[in-house]
């Protein structure tokens, strides 16, 4: 993927094994889609495991889900959707032949929103979880009020941290790609004729967004939150 993004390292951005730019662009785009299919299967295996254990230990998973902070979850969803928008606009700016400053602006905005997501996730949610002893392996305390469902609440949090952690890792990788793209845009590499690295990296960024679109309801929402009233 780094390769597809960096294929423009050559001055004209053209690699010798291709016939023309069009073929190269199509190959890059197809390559990224195929890569995203492997990502679907990767996260999918995890989601399948989660679904099975959720059905086995429903009360424990519902307790765990209600302990998550839905405000941060929803806010982060909005932030990530926003970053997808700015990513799409950055590509649009290149496609439409806009100035390089506009491309850079949208890319930087995307990175800021991505950083905001990770900041909310790590600094507020995970830190609070640590303070409340909800991180398995780091002083997890099974509370007496959970009753008989207690012993399997840690399993929910294992899935929660593993899934959100894997998602965060993908965002951090995306960050690296965006930084490279920003530098390239700053140097004026992209124009309405050549913007394949932007487009291909955009696919990746949107995919990471989609993973969160599913993580949000699966982890935060479907745990019988209504019993908590307005909380």
């Amino acid at each position: 993927m780094a390769e597809m993004a960096a294929q423009g390292a050559h001055p004209e951005g053209f690699a010798h094994q291709f016939e023309d730019m069009e073929q190269q662009r199509e190959a890059g785009s197809l390559g990224m889609w195929v890569f995203l299919v492997t990502e679907i299967m990767f996260f999918g295996g995890l989601f399948a495991t989660y679904i099975i254990y959720r059905s086995l230990y429903l009360p424990s998973f519902e307790i765990g889900s209600r302990l998550l902070n839905v405000k941060f979850g929803a806010a982060n969803t909005a932030v990530l959707i926003g970053s997808s928008l700015t990513m799409a606009l950055a590509i649009h700016a290149a496609q439409a032949g806009k100035k390089k400053s506009e491309q850079v602006m949208y890319l930087v905005l995307t990175m800021i929103l991505g950083a905001a997501f990770l900041f909310l996730k790590f600094n507020f949610e995970w830190r609070a979880d640590y303070a409340e002893h909800l991180i398995p392996g780091f002083g997890f305390i099974i509370r007496s009020e959970w009753g008989a469902a207690g012993p399997h609440v840690p399993l929910f949090f294992c899935f929660y941290f593993f899934m959100t952690g894997l998602h965060a890792l993908h965002m951090i990788i995306g960050f690296g790609i965006l930084s490279v793209l920003t530098v390239m845009a700053w140097r004026g590499r992209f124009n309405s004729e050549y913007y394949a690295p932007l487009e291909i990296s955009g696919l990746y960024w949107h995919f990471v967004d989609i993973v969160w679109i599913f993580l949000f309801p699966l982890l935060y929402l479907i745990g019988g939150r209504y019993v908590m009233g307005g909380q």
């Binding site: 299919v37 909005a78 949107h206």
Partner: protein, 111 residues
């Protein structure tokens, strides 16, 4: 390059739709709908995913090959999930031969 250029207006509309759906799915979580809560939450997630794929990821304007690749990905994921669940949820069932007994009798010449 011959790619289709999506107008900014479309992007903005999709963005607003996604925000509205996020608010909606969050709000619904606080209403007791029984098992429907899960159905609604996942349906909204699927709609949001489709919006992102079709417009942000330009699949609405891209070749059939791309679509086949995406559909194939989800198809095989569905196989993984459904066949695994098929075992997990029917493991406790005891066999009730019924029609099979008839076949066995025919095959083995039993009374």
């Amino acid at each position: 390059m011959s790619a289709h250029i999506v107008p900014v207006k479309t992007y903005a509309a999709i963005f607003i739709a996604l925000l509205v759906l996020t608010a909606l799915t969050t709000a619904v979580a606080f209403v007791d709908l029984g098992p429907l809560n899960t159905v609604v939450a996942l349906t909204i997630a699927v709609i949001k995913m489709l919006l992102v794929i079709l417009f942000f990821m330009h699949v609405k304007y891209s070749s059939g090959l791309t679509r086949i690749v995406i559909v194939a990905g989800f198809f095989f994921l569905a196989i993984l999930v459904s066949l695994t669940l098929a075992d997990e949820f029917t493991r406790g069932w005891t066999p009730n031969p019924g029609a099979w007994s008839t076949i066995v009798r025919l095959l083995h010449g039993l009374p």
